[in-house]
Symmetry: C2
DNA sequence: TCAGAAAGTGTCAAGTGTACACTTTTTACT
DNA sequence: AGTAAAAAGTGTACACTTGACACTTTCTGA
Protein backbone atom coordinates (compact mmCIF):
# COMPACT_ATOMS: atom_id res chain seq x y z
CA UNK A 1 0.00 0.00 0.00
CA UNK A 2 1.41 3.36 -0.98
CA UNK A 3 1.84 5.95 1.71
CA UNK A 4 1.52 9.60 0.92
CA UNK A 5 4.63 11.62 1.54
CA UNK A 6 2.70 14.23 3.51
CA UNK A 7 3.43 14.26 7.21
CA UNK A 8 -0.30 14.23 7.85
CA UNK A 9 -1.85 12.22 5.13
CA UNK A 10 -4.92 11.22 7.06
CA UNK A 11 -6.40 14.25 8.74
CA UNK A 12 -9.10 16.35 7.11
CA UNK A 13 -11.56 19.07 7.97
CA UNK A 14 -15.22 18.99 6.98
CA UNK A 15 -17.47 22.03 7.10
CA UNK A 16 -21.17 21.98 7.88
CA UNK A 17 -22.16 25.33 6.43
CA UNK A 18 -25.60 26.67 7.28
CA UNK A 19 -27.44 29.39 5.45
CA UNK A 20 -30.94 30.80 5.78
CA UNK A 21 -33.15 31.92 2.94
CA UNK A 22 -36.87 31.89 2.18
CA UNK A 23 -37.59 30.96 5.79
CA UNK A 24 -35.61 27.77 5.32
CA UNK A 25 -32.41 26.62 6.91
CA UNK A 26 -30.08 25.27 4.25
CA UNK A 27 -26.89 23.30 4.08
CA UNK A 28 -24.13 23.90 1.57
CA UNK A 29 -23.22 20.62 -0.13
CA UNK A 30 -20.86 19.51 -2.85
CA UNK A 31 -22.41 17.51 -5.65
CA UNK A 32 -20.05 15.29 -7.61
CA UNK A 33 -20.65 13.27 -10.73
CA UNK A 34 -18.72 10.04 -10.58
CA UNK A 35 -18.52 8.02 -13.79
CA UNK A 36 -19.90 4.52 -13.29
CA UNK A 37 -18.19 2.00 -15.57
CA UNK A 38 -21.04 -0.47 -15.35
CA UNK A 39 -23.95 1.76 -16.23
CA UNK A 40 -21.91 4.25 -18.26
CA UNK A 41 -23.94 6.89 -16.44
CA UNK A 42 -22.82 9.27 -13.76
CA UNK A 43 -23.50 8.50 -10.13
CA UNK A 44 -24.39 11.67 -8.23
CA UNK A 45 -22.88 11.87 -4.77
CA UNK A 46 -23.37 14.63 -2.23
CA UNK A 47 -20.86 15.42 0.47
CA UNK A 48 -19.87 18.07 2.95
CA UNK A 49 -17.19 20.43 1.72
CA UNK A 50 -13.85 19.44 3.16
CA UNK A 51 -10.21 18.77 2.44
CA UNK A 52 -7.09 17.22 3.84
CA UNK A 53 -5.15 19.44 6.21
CA UNK A 54 -1.91 20.71 4.73
CA UNK A 55 1.36 20.45 6.57
CA UNK A 56 1.73 24.20 6.79
CA UNK A 57 -1.66 25.06 8.21
CA UNK A 58 -3.50 24.50 11.46
CA UNK A 59 -7.02 23.11 11.66
CA UNK A 60 -8.78 26.47 11.67
CA UNK A 61 -6.76 27.63 8.70
CA UNK A 62 -7.71 24.50 6.80
CA UNK A 63 -11.39 25.12 7.52
CA UNK A 64 -11.04 28.79 6.56
CA UNK A 65 -9.42 27.75 3.33
CA UNK A 66 -12.17 25.28 2.44
CA UNK A 67 -14.74 27.99 3.12
CA UNK A 68 -12.91 30.63 1.15
CA UNK A 69 -12.37 28.37 -1.85
CA UNK A 70 -16.03 27.50 -1.92
CA UNK A 71 -17.67 30.84 -1.18
CA UNK A 72 -14.99 33.47 -1.72
CA UNK A 73 -15.66 34.73 1.82
CA UNK A 74 -13.23 35.32 4.67
CA UNK A 75 -13.78 35.95 8.37
CA UNK A 76 -16.80 33.72 8.54
CA UNK A 77 -18.28 32.34 11.73
CA UNK A 78 -16.66 28.96 12.20
CA UNK A 79 -16.85 26.72 15.23
CA UNK A 80 -15.10 23.42 15.62
CA UNK A 81 -17.58 21.02 17.19
CA UNK A 82 -16.29 17.47 16.97
CA UNK A 83 -13.72 15.10 15.51
CA UNK A 84 -14.70 11.85 13.83
CA UNK A 85 -12.33 8.95 13.58
CA UNK A 86 -14.06 5.62 13.39
CA UNK A 87 -11.87 3.13 11.52
CA UNK A 88 -14.82 2.23 9.29
CA UNK A 89 -16.06 5.73 8.61
CA UNK A 90 -14.92 5.85 5.01
CA UNK A 91 -14.84 2.18 4.12
CA UNK A 92 -18.41 1.70 2.94
CA UNK A 93 -18.76 0.31 -0.58
CA UNK A 94 -20.85 3.25 -1.75
CA UNK A 95 -17.92 5.62 -1.19
CA UNK A 96 -15.33 3.55 -2.99
CA UNK A 97 -15.57 5.14 -6.41
CA UNK A 98 -15.22 8.64 -5.13
CA UNK A 99 -12.38 7.77 -2.79
CA UNK A 100 -10.41 6.17 -5.57
CA UNK A 101 -10.87 9.27 -7.65
CA UNK A 102 -9.45 11.63 -5.03
CA UNK A 103 -7.14 9.70 -2.72
CA UNK A 104 -3.80 8.08 -3.17
CA UNK A 105 -4.56 5.63 -0.42
CA UNK A 106 -8.24 4.71 -0.35
CA UNK A 107 -7.85 2.14 2.41
CA UNK A 108 -6.40 4.47 4.98
CA UNK A 109 -8.52 5.81 7.75
CA UNK A 110 -9.16 9.53 7.64
CA UNK A 111 -9.78 11.31 10.88
CA UNK A 112 -11.78 14.46 10.30
CA UNK A 113 -12.30 17.55 12.37
CA UNK A 114 -15.78 18.93 11.79
CA UNK A 115 -16.65 22.62 11.77
CA UNK A 116 -20.00 24.31 11.90
CA UNK A 117 -20.24 27.53 9.94
CA UNK A 118 -22.96 30.14 9.70
CA UNK A 119 -23.13 32.48 6.75
CA UNK A 120 -25.45 35.00 5.21
CA UNK A 121 -26.20 33.03 2.08
CA UNK A 122 -26.97 36.23 0.15
CA UNK A 123 -23.27 37.09 0.41
CA UNK A 124 -22.21 33.86 -1.20
CA UNK A 125 -21.46 33.75 -4.88
CA UNK A 126 -21.10 30.03 -5.43
CA UNK A 127 -18.19 29.35 -7.73
CA UNK A 128 -19.58 28.22 -11.08
CA UNK A 129 -19.61 24.43 -11.04
CA UNK A 130 -17.50 22.34 -13.30
CA UNK A 131 -19.16 19.38 -14.96
CA UNK A 132 -18.02 17.04 -12.27
CA UNK A 133 -18.40 19.18 -9.19
CA UNK A 134 -20.79 21.85 -8.02
CA UNK A 135 -21.94 23.47 -4.78
CA UNK A 136 -25.63 23.57 -3.92
CA UNK A 137 -27.80 24.90 -1.09
CA UNK A 138 -29.98 22.09 0.22
CA UNK A 139 -32.91 22.61 2.64
CA UNK A 140 -32.00 20.74 5.79
CA UNK A 141 -35.07 18.52 5.68
CA UNK A 142 -34.22 17.43 2.14
CA UNK A 143 -30.62 16.43 2.78
CA UNK A 144 -30.04 13.18 0.85
CA UNK A 145 -27.75 10.32 1.73
CA UNK A 146 -24.26 11.78 1.91
CA UNK A 147 -20.82 10.31 1.39
CA UNK A 148 -18.97 8.59 4.24
CA UNK A 149 -20.37 9.45 7.68
CA UNK A 150 -21.37 12.92 6.59
CA UNK A 151 -25.01 12.45 7.53
CA UNK A 152 -23.95 11.82 11.09
CA UNK A 153 -21.66 14.84 11.08
CA UNK A 154 -24.49 16.98 9.76
CA UNK A 155 -26.90 15.73 12.42
CA UNK A 156 -24.44 16.56 15.14
CA UNK A 157 -23.82 19.99 13.67
CA UNK A 158 -27.53 20.69 13.63
CA UNK A 159 -27.82 19.65 17.25
CA UNK A 160 -24.85 21.86 18.10
CA UNK A 161 -26.50 24.76 16.31
CA UNK A 162 -29.76 24.32 18.21
CA UNK A 163 -27.89 24.33 21.44
CA UNK A 164 -25.60 27.22 20.62
CA UNK A 165 -28.32 29.51 19.39
CA UNK A 166 -30.03 29.32 22.75
CA UNK A 167 -26.85 30.24 24.54
CA UNK A 168 -25.05 32.68 22.35
CA UNK A 169 -26.13 35.43 20.01
CA UNK A 170 -24.93 33.73 16.85
CA UNK A 171 -28.15 33.69 14.84
CA UNK A 172 -27.19 37.03 13.34
CA UNK A 173 -24.41 35.37 11.39
CA UNK A 174 -27.11 33.87 9.19
CA UNK A 175 -28.81 37.18 8.45
CA UNK A 176 -27.82 40.25 6.47
CA UNK A 177 -26.46 43.28 8.29
CA UNK A 178 -29.97 44.75 8.48
CA UNK A 179 -32.95 42.55 9.23
CA UNK A 180 -36.47 42.86 10.53
CA UNK A 181 -37.76 41.47 13.77
CA UNK A 182 -39.86 39.02 11.76
CA UNK A 183 -36.77 37.77 9.92
CA UNK A 184 -35.08 37.14 13.22
CA UNK A 185 -38.05 35.41 14.77
CA UNK A 186 -38.50 33.25 11.70
CA UNK A 187 -34.86 32.23 11.94
CA UNK A 188 -35.19 31.23 15.58
CA UNK A 189 -38.43 29.39 14.94
CA UNK A 190 -36.85 27.49 12.09
CA UNK A 191 -33.78 26.43 14.00
CA UNK A 192 -35.59 25.59 17.21
CA UNK A 193 -38.42 24.01 15.25
CA UNK A 194 -41.23 25.57 17.24
CA UNK A 195 -43.39 28.65 17.36
CA UNK A 196 -42.44 31.59 19.51
CA UNK A 197 -44.74 34.30 20.78
CA UNK A 198 -44.24 37.49 18.79
CA UNK A 199 -44.60 39.96 21.64
CA UNK A 200 -42.45 38.00 24.03
CA UNK A 201 -39.80 37.48 21.39
CA UNK A 202 -39.56 41.18 20.57
CA UNK A 203 -39.45 42.18 24.20
CA UNK A 204 -36.72 39.73 25.02
CA UNK A 205 -34.54 40.62 22.06
CA UNK A 206 -34.80 44.34 22.64
CA UNK A 207 -34.35 44.20 26.39
CA UNK A 208 -31.34 41.92 26.08
CA UNK A 209 -29.43 44.58 24.21
CA UNK A 210 -28.17 42.24 21.50
CA UNK A 211 -29.87 44.19 18.74
CA UNK A 212 -30.25 47.86 17.92
CA UNK A 213 -33.22 49.47 16.19
CA UNK A 214 -32.43 51.46 13.06
CA UNK A 215 -34.57 54.31 11.79
CA UNK A 216 -34.71 52.73 8.35
CA UNK A 217 -37.75 50.73 7.29
CA UNK A 218 -38.68 48.36 4.53
CA UNK A 219 -39.79 49.92 1.25
CA UNK A 220 -41.87 48.43 -1.51
CA UNK A 221 -43.75 45.90 0.57
CA UNK A 222 -47.51 45.77 0.25
CA UNK A 223 -48.16 46.01 3.95
CA UNK A 224 -46.97 47.98 6.91
CA UNK A 225 -43.22 48.28 6.44
CA UNK A 226 -41.12 46.69 9.14
CA UNK A 227 -38.37 48.46 10.99
CA UNK A 228 -34.82 47.25 10.44
CA UNK A 229 -32.54 46.18 13.24
CA UNK A 230 -28.91 45.26 13.39
CA UNK A 231 -26.82 43.12 15.65
CA UNK A 232 -25.06 45.08 18.39
CA UNK A 233 -21.44 44.02 18.00
CA UNK A 234 -20.39 46.04 21.01
CA UNK A 235 -22.48 43.63 23.00
CA UNK A 236 -20.05 40.83 22.24
CA UNK A 237 -17.05 42.99 22.97
CA UNK A 238 -18.42 43.91 26.36
CA UNK A 239 -19.24 40.37 27.36
CA UNK A 240 -16.92 38.08 25.45
CA UNK A 241 -18.22 35.34 23.22
CA UNK A 242 -19.12 32.85 25.90
CA UNK A 243 -22.47 34.16 26.92
CA UNK A 244 -24.51 31.86 29.05
CA UNK A 245 -27.88 32.81 30.41
CA UNK A 246 -28.14 36.41 29.47
CA UNK A 247 -30.95 38.12 31.29
CA UNK A 248 -31.53 41.75 31.93
CA UNK A 249 -29.33 41.60 34.98
CA UNK A 250 -26.57 39.99 32.92
CA UNK A 251 -27.85 36.45 32.80
CA UNK A 252 -29.02 34.82 29.60
CA UNK A 253 -31.63 32.35 28.52
CA UNK A 254 -33.20 32.91 25.19
CA UNK A 255 -36.11 30.50 25.32
CA UNK A 256 -37.11 27.91 27.80
CA UNK B 1 12.81 11.25 7.57
CA UNK B 2 11.38 7.90 8.50
CA UNK B 3 7.66 7.42 8.22
CA UNK B 4 5.88 5.15 10.65
CA UNK B 5 4.16 2.20 9.08
CA UNK B 6 0.94 2.89 10.96
CA UNK B 7 -1.92 4.13 8.84
CA UNK B 8 -2.43 6.91 11.36
CA UNK B 9 0.92 7.76 12.73
CA UNK B 10 0.05 11.29 13.69
CA UNK B 11 -3.23 11.36 15.56
CA UNK B 12 -3.41 11.13 19.32
CA UNK B 13 -5.89 11.62 22.13
CA UNK B 14 -5.14 13.59 25.28
CA UNK B 15 -7.27 13.40 28.40
CA UNK B 16 -7.89 16.24 30.82
CA UNK B 17 -9.01 14.26 33.83
CA UNK B 18 -10.59 16.18 36.68
CA UNK B 19 -11.03 14.93 40.20
CA UNK B 20 -12.26 16.59 43.38
CA UNK B 21 -10.91 16.00 46.85
CA UNK B 22 -10.39 18.09 49.96
CA UNK B 23 -12.50 20.87 48.45
CA UNK B 24 -10.00 21.17 45.63
CA UNK B 25 -10.38 20.51 41.95
CA UNK B 26 -7.45 18.43 40.71
CA UNK B 27 -5.96 17.39 37.44
CA UNK B 28 -4.43 14.00 36.77
CA UNK B 29 -0.99 14.44 35.25
CA UNK B 30 1.81 12.20 34.13
CA UNK B 31 5.21 13.01 35.55
CA UNK B 32 8.18 11.76 33.57
CA UNK B 33 11.84 11.78 34.42
CA UNK B 34 13.90 12.43 31.32
CA UNK B 35 17.65 11.90 31.62
CA UNK B 36 19.52 15.05 30.71
CA UNK B 37 22.92 14.26 29.18
CA UNK B 38 24.34 17.64 30.01
CA UNK B 39 23.51 17.86 33.67
CA UNK B 40 23.42 14.11 34.26
CA UNK B 41 20.29 14.82 36.27
CA UNK B 42 16.71 14.04 35.42
CA UNK B 43 14.50 16.68 33.95
CA UNK B 44 10.97 16.39 35.33
CA UNK B 45 8.25 16.96 32.77
CA UNK B 46 4.53 16.94 33.36
CA UNK B 47 2.02 16.16 30.66
CA UNK B 48 -1.59 15.21 30.11
CA UNK B 49 -2.18 11.48 29.79
CA UNK B 50 -2.57 10.55 26.16
CA UNK B 51 -1.53 8.20 23.42
CA UNK B 52 -1.50 7.71 19.69
CA UNK B 53 -4.72 6.33 18.27
CA UNK B 54 -4.39 2.73 17.12
CA UNK B 55 -5.54 1.61 13.71
CA UNK B 56 -8.18 -0.66 15.16
CA UNK B 57 -9.88 1.78 17.51
CA UNK B 58 -11.97 4.90 17.17
CA UNK B 59 -11.26 8.11 19.05
CA UNK B 60 -13.50 7.36 22.01
CA UNK B 61 -12.01 3.93 22.36
CA UNK B 62 -8.53 5.41 22.39
CA UNK B 63 -9.53 7.82 25.14
CA UNK B 64 -11.22 5.03 27.10
CA UNK B 65 -8.08 2.97 26.81
CA UNK B 66 -5.84 5.77 28.06
CA UNK B 67 -8.15 6.24 31.02
CA UNK B 68 -8.39 2.54 31.79
CA UNK B 69 -4.64 2.01 31.62
CA UNK B 70 -4.08 4.89 33.97
CA UNK B 71 -6.85 4.41 36.51
CA UNK B 72 -8.14 0.88 36.03
CA UNK B 73 -11.66 2.35 35.57
CA UNK B 74 -14.16 1.81 32.77
CA UNK B 75 -17.37 3.63 31.85
CA UNK B 76 -16.06 6.97 32.95
CA UNK B 77 -17.58 10.30 31.97
CA UNK B 78 -15.67 11.38 28.90
CA UNK B 79 -16.48 14.27 26.63
CA UNK B 80 -14.56 15.19 23.54
CA UNK B 81 -14.22 18.95 23.53
CA UNK B 82 -11.68 20.03 20.93
CA UNK B 83 -8.99 18.99 18.49
CA UNK B 84 -5.60 20.67 18.39
CA UNK B 85 -3.46 20.65 15.31
CA UNK B 86 -1.16 23.61 15.08
CA UNK B 87 1.92 22.70 13.04
CA UNK B 88 4.16 24.06 15.80
CA UNK B 89 2.36 22.54 18.75
CA UNK B 90 5.01 19.94 19.53
CA UNK B 91 8.08 21.55 18.07
CA UNK B 92 9.25 23.62 21.02
CA UNK B 93 12.78 22.93 22.18
CA UNK B 94 11.69 22.04 25.70
CA UNK B 95 9.77 19.02 24.40
CA UNK B 96 12.53 17.61 22.24
CA UNK B 97 14.06 15.19 24.71
CA UNK B 98 10.79 13.58 25.58
CA UNK B 99 9.65 13.36 22.00
CA UNK B 100 12.81 11.64 20.94
CA UNK B 101 12.33 9.11 23.69
CA UNK B 102 8.82 8.13 22.63
CA UNK B 103 8.36 8.83 18.91
CA UNK B 104 9.84 7.36 15.82
CA UNK B 105 9.38 10.60 13.99
CA UNK B 106 9.87 13.56 16.30
CA UNK B 107 9.50 16.15 13.55
CA UNK B 108 6.04 15.12 12.45
CA UNK B 109 3.04 17.10 13.48
CA UNK B 110 0.68 15.33 15.83
CA UNK B 111 -2.95 16.30 15.73
CA UNK B 112 -4.61 15.53 19.01
CA UNK B 113 -8.22 15.13 20.00
CA UNK B 114 -8.75 16.34 23.54
CA UNK B 115 -11.17 14.80 26.01
CA UNK B 116 -12.43 16.11 29.29
CA UNK B 117 -13.07 13.46 31.90
CA UNK B 118 -14.65 13.65 35.32
CA UNK B 119 -13.99 10.97 37.89
CA UNK B 120 -14.52 10.31 41.54
CA UNK B 121 -10.89 10.38 42.55
CA UNK B 122 -11.57 8.13 45.52
CA UNK B 123 -12.27 5.31 43.06
CA UNK B 124 -8.91 5.68 41.41
CA UNK B 125 -6.06 3.46 42.44
CA UNK B 126 -3.19 5.10 40.62
CA UNK B 127 -0.95 2.46 39.13
CA UNK B 128 2.28 2.38 41.11
CA UNK B 129 4.74 4.57 39.24
CA UNK B 130 7.84 3.28 37.62
CA UNK B 131 11.02 5.23 38.16
CA UNK B 132 10.56 7.15 34.96
CA UNK B 133 6.82 7.67 34.93
CA UNK B 134 4.15 8.29 37.52
CA UNK B 135 0.64 9.70 37.74
CA UNK B 136 -0.13 12.50 40.17
CA UNK B 137 -3.17 14.55 41.20
CA UNK B 138 -2.33 18.22 40.88
CA UNK B 139 -4.54 21.04 42.26
CA UNK B 140 -5.65 23.05 39.29
CA UNK B 141 -4.14 26.27 40.56
CA UNK B 142 -0.75 24.61 40.96
CA UNK B 143 -0.53 23.12 37.50
CA UNK B 144 3.06 23.66 36.33
CA UNK B 145 4.33 24.21 32.82
CA UNK B 146 3.29 21.17 30.81
CA UNK B 147 4.69 19.50 27.74
CA UNK B 148 3.69 20.66 24.24
CA UNK B 149 0.54 22.78 24.19
CA UNK B 150 -0.95 20.91 27.13
CA UNK B 151 -1.39 24.03 29.21
CA UNK B 152 -3.65 25.45 26.53
CA UNK B 153 -5.59 22.20 26.29
CA UNK B 154 -6.04 22.20 30.04
CA UNK B 155 -7.25 25.82 30.08
CA UNK B 156 -9.81 25.06 27.42
CA UNK B 157 -10.97 21.97 29.27
CA UNK B 158 -11.45 23.99 32.42
CA UNK B 159 -13.48 26.55 30.52
CA UNK B 160 -15.55 23.75 28.98
CA UNK B 161 -16.13 22.28 32.43
CA UNK B 162 -17.33 25.61 33.82
CA UNK B 163 -19.73 25.96 30.99
CA UNK B 164 -20.99 22.39 31.04
CA UNK B 165 -21.62 22.27 34.74
CA UNK B 166 -24.05 25.14 34.44
CA UNK B 167 -25.97 23.40 31.71
CA UNK B 168 -25.89 19.74 32.51
CA UNK B 169 -25.96 17.74 35.70
CA UNK B 170 -22.44 16.38 35.37
CA UNK B 171 -20.95 17.53 38.67
CA UNK B 172 -22.01 14.23 40.22
CA UNK B 173 -19.39 12.41 38.19
CA UNK B 174 -16.79 13.99 40.46
CA UNK B 175 -18.44 12.84 43.69
CA UNK B 176 -18.97 9.47 45.31
CA UNK B 177 -22.32 7.74 44.96
CA UNK B 178 -23.50 9.28 48.22
CA UNK B 179 -22.65 12.86 49.05
CA UNK B 180 -23.87 15.64 51.27
CA UNK B 181 -25.41 18.87 50.14
CA UNK B 182 -22.32 20.67 51.40
CA UNK B 183 -20.06 18.45 49.30
CA UNK B 184 -22.10 19.31 46.26
CA UNK B 185 -22.17 23.01 46.98
CA UNK B 186 -18.44 23.04 47.63
CA UNK B 187 -17.90 21.36 44.28
CA UNK B 188 -19.98 23.93 42.43
CA UNK B 189 -18.34 26.79 44.26
CA UNK B 190 -14.91 25.46 43.42
CA UNK B 191 -15.62 24.98 39.74
CA UNK B 192 -17.52 28.21 39.27
CA UNK B 193 -15.02 30.01 41.48
CA UNK B 194 -17.58 31.95 43.47
CA UNK B 195 -19.73 31.67 46.56
CA UNK B 196 -23.28 30.40 46.34
CA UNK B 197 -26.05 30.99 48.82
CA UNK B 198 -26.64 27.86 50.88
CA UNK B 199 -30.42 28.09 51.12
CA UNK B 200 -30.91 28.97 47.48
CA UNK B 201 -28.55 26.22 46.39
CA UNK B 202 -30.40 23.56 48.35
CA UNK B 203 -33.77 24.71 47.18
CA UNK B 204 -32.75 24.70 43.56
CA UNK B 205 -31.05 21.31 43.66
CA UNK B 206 -33.94 19.63 45.41
CA UNK B 207 -36.68 21.26 43.36
CA UNK B 208 -34.91 20.44 40.11
CA UNK B 209 -35.22 16.74 40.78
CA UNK B 210 -31.62 15.93 39.87
CA UNK B 211 -30.84 14.57 43.32
CA UNK B 212 -32.64 12.31 45.75
CA UNK B 213 -32.45 12.51 49.52
CA UNK B 214 -31.40 9.32 51.28
CA UNK B 215 -32.39 8.49 54.86
CA UNK B 216 -28.76 7.77 55.69
CA UNK B 217 -26.68 10.39 57.48
CA UNK B 218 -23.05 10.99 58.26
CA UNK B 219 -21.65 9.22 61.31
CA UNK B 220 -18.61 10.03 63.38
CA UNK B 221 -18.51 13.73 62.64
CA UNK B 222 -18.22 16.11 65.53
CA UNK B 223 -21.15 18.26 64.51
CA UNK B 224 -24.66 17.83 63.29
CA UNK B 225 -24.46 14.96 60.80
CA UNK B 226 -25.40 15.82 57.25
CA UNK B 227 -27.94 13.91 55.23
CA UNK B 228 -26.69 11.99 52.20
CA UNK B 229 -28.06 12.49 48.73
CA UNK B 230 -27.51 10.70 45.49
CA UNK B 231 -27.77 11.64 41.87
CA UNK B 232 -31.09 10.71 40.29
CA UNK B 233 -30.03 8.73 37.23
CA UNK B 234 -33.61 8.36 36.07
CA UNK B 235 -33.56 12.07 35.58
CA UNK B 236 -31.07 11.71 32.74
CA UNK B 237 -32.98 8.85 31.20
CA UNK B 238 -36.16 10.88 31.13
CA UNK B 239 -34.57 13.91 29.57
CA UNK B 240 -31.54 12.73 27.62
CA UNK B 241 -28.09 14.06 28.26
CA UNK B 242 -28.46 17.38 26.54
CA UNK B 243 -30.25 19.29 29.20
CA UNK B 244 -30.40 22.98 28.68
CA UNK B 245 -32.14 25.27 31.09
CA UNK B 246 -33.78 22.89 33.44
CA UNK B 247 -36.21 24.65 35.70
CA UNK B 248 -39.06 23.27 37.67
CA UNK B 249 -41.32 23.55 34.69
CA UNK B 250 -38.75 21.70 32.59
CA UNK B 251 -36.32 24.51 31.91
CA UNK B 252 -32.85 24.64 33.39
CA UNK B 253 -30.43 27.26 34.54
CA UNK B 254 -28.33 26.40 37.48
CA UNK B 255 -26.88 29.73 38.47
CA UNK B 256 -27.00 33.12 36.92
C1' DT C 1 -23.12 21.08 80.61
C1' DC C 2 -21.02 23.90 77.71
C1' DA C 3 -18.47 25.35 73.56
C1' DG C 4 -17.56 24.53 68.89
C1' DA C 5 -18.87 23.17 64.34
C1' DA C 6 -21.53 22.45 60.55
C1' DA C 7 -26.42 21.31 59.11
C1' DG C 8 -30.63 22.86 58.14
C1' DT C 9 -34.58 26.05 57.56
C1' DG C 10 -38.46 30.54 55.65
C1' DT C 11 -39.83 34.91 53.83
C1' DC C 12 -40.21 38.77 51.00
C1' DA C 13 -39.35 41.79 47.07
C1' DA C 14 -37.89 42.10 42.41
C1' DG C 15 -37.42 40.03 38.11
C1' DT C 16 -38.82 36.82 34.49
C1' DG C 17 -41.80 33.79 31.75
C1' DT C 18 -45.96 33.03 29.49
C1' DA C 19 -50.44 33.59 27.65
C1' DC C 20 -53.27 36.33 25.07
C1' DA C 21 -56.05 40.06 20.88
C1' DC C 22 -56.44 44.20 18.84
C1' DT C 23 -54.79 48.47 16.22
C1' DT C 24 -51.77 50.52 12.74
C1' DT C 25 -49.75 51.15 8.33
C1' DT C 26 -49.03 50.20 3.88
C1' DT C 27 -50.26 48.57 -1.03
C1' DA C 28 -53.33 46.72 -4.48
C1' DC C 29 -57.58 46.39 -6.38
C1' DT C 30 -62.07 47.95 -7.91
C1' DA D 1 -61.85 57.27 -3.26
C1' DG D 2 -62.93 53.36 -0.70
C1' DT D 3 -62.03 48.92 0.78
C1' DA D 4 -59.68 44.54 1.49
C1' DA D 5 -55.52 42.09 2.41
C1' DA D 6 -51.23 41.55 4.76
C1' DA D 7 -47.95 41.97 8.05
C1' DA D 8 -46.16 45.15 11.78
C1' DG D 9 -46.49 46.57 16.12
C1' DT D 10 -48.13 47.03 20.93
C1' DG D 11 -49.61 46.01 26.86
C1' DT D 12 -51.18 43.56 30.79
C1' DA D 13 -51.86 40.27 34.36
C1' DC D 14 -50.59 36.06 36.70
C1' DA D 15 -47.55 32.57 38.21
C1' DC D 16 -43.13 31.33 39.04
C1' DT D 17 -38.16 31.91 39.99
C1' DT D 18 -34.41 34.29 41.83
C1' DG D 19 -31.68 36.37 45.29
C1' DA D 20 -30.86 38.46 49.67
C1' DC D 21 -30.79 37.64 54.30
C1' DA D 22 -29.96 35.24 60.06
C1' DC D 23 -31.14 32.09 63.29
C1' DT D 24 -31.98 27.35 65.25
C1' DT D 25 -30.78 22.48 65.49
C1' DT D 26 -27.93 18.58 66.34
C1' DC D 27 -23.97 16.39 67.18
C1' DT D 28 -19.09 15.67 69.48
C1' DG D 29 -15.52 16.43 72.67
C1' DA D 30 -13.66 18.72 76.53
Amino acid sequence: MALSNSLNPHVSVDCVIFGFSQDTLRLLLIRRNIPNRLTEMNDVIYALPGDLVKDSENLNQAADRVLAELTGLKDIYLQQFSAFGDPTRITKAKDRAWLESVRQDPDARVITVAYMSLIDSAKVQLQPGSFSEEAVWMPIDEVPELAFDHNEIFEQALAALKESIQMQPIGFELLPEKFTMSDLQSLYETILDRDLDKRNFRRKMINSGVIQALSEKQIGVSNKPARFYRFNREFLEERGTNIVNLRMDGSFTLFN
